[in-house]
């Protein structure tokens, strides 16, 4: 299993949670799993076998030409994506709090009937 396969598997698990779980909080957990799987996917893209952290000090600049570094751009992108997914989770939880205070239930079936 490469990390990319694992991330796609996680995506499917999250999608299963969003689709089939009846509890709204569990659906949000599914969304969080989906977002985490995308983060893993991006990090796996940037990974290099036995690569170093992409930090280059001035003294090393000469002999670092032969070393392998992991790609820092996906990591930087994922910082932004994590922030977005956290704010998304916060908005979703806020909505669930409001829904619970109106209907006193988190079950999708009962919410659908009302």
């Amino acid at each position: 299993m490469t990390p990319i396969n694992i991330s796609l598997l996680l995506f499917m698990i999250g999608l299963y949670g969003v689709i089939s779980k009846n509890n709204l909080i569990k659906k949000i957990i599914g969304l969080a799993i989906i977002n985490a799987s995308v983060v893993l996917f991006f990090i796996a893209i940037g990974y290099r076998e036995s690569g170093l952290a992409p930090i280059m000090s001035r003294s090393e600049a000469v002999d670092s030409a032969n070393k392998i570094f992991v790609n820092p751009i996906p990591q930087a992108l994922m910082l932004t994506a994590i922030v977005v997914s956290i704010s998304l989770t916060a908005v979703a939880l806020a909505l669930v709090v409001k829904i619970y205070s109106k209907y006193k239930t988190l079950d999708v079936q009962k919410l659908y009937e009302e």
């Binding site: 995506f11 999608l15 969003v18 709204l24 659906k27 969304l31 989906i34 977002n35 995308v38 996917f41 991006f42 893209i45 996906p74 992108l77 932004t80 994506a81 977005v84 704010s87 998304l88 908005v91 979703a92 909505l95 669930v96 409001k98 829904i99 109106k102 209907y103 919410l111 009302e114």
Partner: protein, 496 residues
Amino acid sequence: MLNHLPILIIIFPLSIAFIILLFKKYIIALSTFSILFSLASLLKFAPSVYKGQIISYHLGGWPAPLGISLLIDSLSFFFALTVLLIGMMVIIYSIPDKKYNHNYYFLLLILLSSMVGTIFTADIFNMYILYDLVAIATYLLIAYYQHGVALKASFNYLLMSAVGLSLFLLGVGSLYAMSGTLHIASISEQLPEIFAHNPQIIIMSLVLVITSMGIKMAMVPLHGWLPDAHSLAPSPVSAILSGVVVKVGLYCLIRLIFGLFSTEKILVNIASHYILMVFGAITLLFGAMMALTQTDLKRMLAYSTINQIGLILIGLGFNIYSGFEGALFHVLNHALLKSALFFCAGIIIIKTGSKKIKELAGFGKKNPVVAFCFVILSLGIIGIPPMNGFVSKFLICLAAIEAGYSILALVIIFASLITAAYYFRVIQIFYSEPIQPNSNLPNIDVAENSLFWDKYFRLWPIYILTGFSLMLGILPSLGLSLIRPAVKILLLNIIK
């Protein structure tokens, strides 16, 4: 200062939004001013954009493949102009309602500025981030009144669109893994070579992008969120959702399919535009059928949006000049007509206290002006000659025959007949006698006493938008001259 105008169009309303949230003073004046500023600075680019120039702005001074860049060409100019114009009208329409406080204007300004950002950006990851910002502002605006049903609709939309945006990010990731860059033009240059080695990954990312943007613009198997969200939101929010937010998804799809996945090999092997045509036809018929069965006025208008989106997709799918022309012209027409129709629906719901179509009897005699505007606008959506909807539908039908799909022209005409059926039903009820004296029900949208200067601000956006649509219908060359340079950009990418 003038060099930095492209980013100011996005940043200025965004910073004003936070100022409004912090100081809670001069809310309306500040938000109107910021959108007018963006509109004016956008119009400043009009002469150079229509000379065929492409304005690109590099954030922080880093050039294109390394840094993030903004791109203003005639396509993004056209969409940004539509967004800001409708946004301005929505702000004017919201002024009389005291229930809309600083939170509402904060979210509205964030929504508008991030939509303009999504349109201007030339970098797919930025497109994802800004689209997520659009989506978050949308969820909160739908649930603005915090009624139970609206909260449920908002949560439903959140689930679908969050999954859709994750799919989009997965597509972005696989494109980045193959090409090593996020800049749309650079990826499109490298795409033929990648496609020769790894066709599966390119097809996968194409499918992911079409699925995610299909969720965003309610392509039919993925439309589940739209009727609830658009009909249960406050009326000005419904207007901006149906008129503009759906079109931003369409813009991203156009930008990516005709700008990124448009190399010759992909066009021959996958023929992505056939996908658009087939799904467009399904969307068109499904939206029309479902709108016919609705009993709720705003829900009917929401299904009518699905119907018109299908028409635009069909026009894009032909992949020829007149098809693009008709589709892009219909984007503008539908934005004008549908947001004005939702404005009308907002006034109708306040005046009659009911959302049900049956209970609107006699409205045409009580409020002749609003009812008359509703009639004119619905004629535009149906596509009856003096209105702008006719011109774009006619162009798409012509393109269907020109491209050799005469059956689709028949489908479009059939769907227009159904459209006529459901709009004429409402109009007929408007001018019929009320069955019983209308007891003023406590309405759920807005209490009438919370309105001030109702006559001026509520009605003027409707008059302006109706006037625009009539003008574009009588003089279609005005609108077409706005669209032709954008069509040239789409065709240019295809030939390349």
